[in-house]
Amino acid sequence: MTGTAAPTPRIPIAPHMQVYRPTLTMVMSIMHRLTGTALYAGTVVFVWWLVAVAAGRVAYETFLDVFGSVPGLVVLFGLTWAVLHHALGGIRHLIWDVGRAHTYPWREYLARANLIGSLTLSATLWVVFYPW
């Protein structure tokens, strides 16, 4: 063998993400990952709540003060939407996993149902259960 490296062959390169026109299913795929990541961080809020209750009245009041503030409420509403969106998206993935709804138009219906469902459910839960 000689020491000279073979010239890089000019192979066809697969088109990357940015050459595609964004589609609803593509955006929903990204959203599923983003909401999952948000919920990963959101577990800190849930465990904070549990620890606050376990620690005592003062710690619980602190938790309520933090998450009763405007930024706190925004975080809680965001987590509500993220959890519902990710849960509905998970059901969509399970439907795909059993081999259903991969084709047009069902995949589009599911994507829309996922988004509309998560938004209306979050809004409904807050309208009904937030102590206005």
Binding site: L50, V53, Y60, A87, G90, L94, L125, Y130, P131
Partner: protein, 127 residues
């Protein structure tokens, strides 16, 4: 020398995490169970809205709620460990950074699970 191993045996353990398909399966099982567990957890959280401290403690020391929250916590700590691992494997290719992040991820998921479980158990046994 000839390689007597089957193609499957040679490929095993060569995935991005040097693991097999167990995580793939666990992710689906924890997502199906998760739909039920998160529904229960949301009901518990809604039930605590506006309640005073003693009522929240009473709610969280109900044995059914204790079991539900422990199961949910275990379920989602497994689910989020695998989910974040997939993201790390997709975007981080430098081997040392990848391994470190995978360890941090497993550590975070474990700590969240254990700290949450300790809090739930403490509430459960102190009423």
């Amino acid at each position: 020398m000839e390689d007597f191993r089957t193609p499957t045996a040679r490929a095993r353990g060569l995935g991005a995490a040097r693991g097999g398909t167990r995580d793939f399966w666990y992710q689906r099982v924890t997502s199906a169970l998760g739909v039920l567990l998160i529904t229960g957890a949301i009901i518990v959280v809604i039930d605590s809205i506006g309640a005073d401290y003693d009522d929240v403690r009473a709610l969280l020391s109900n044995p059914v709620v204790v079991a539900l929250l422990l199961l949910a916590l275990l379920n989602f700590c497994i689910h989020m460990r695998i989910g974040m691992q997939v993201i790390i494997e997709d975007y981080v290719h430098q081997p040392m950074a990848k391994v470190l992040l995978l360890i941090v991820n497993a550590g975070f998921s474990t700590v969240i699970g254990v700290v949450g479980a300790v809090a739930i158990i403490k509430i459960a046994f102190s009423g």
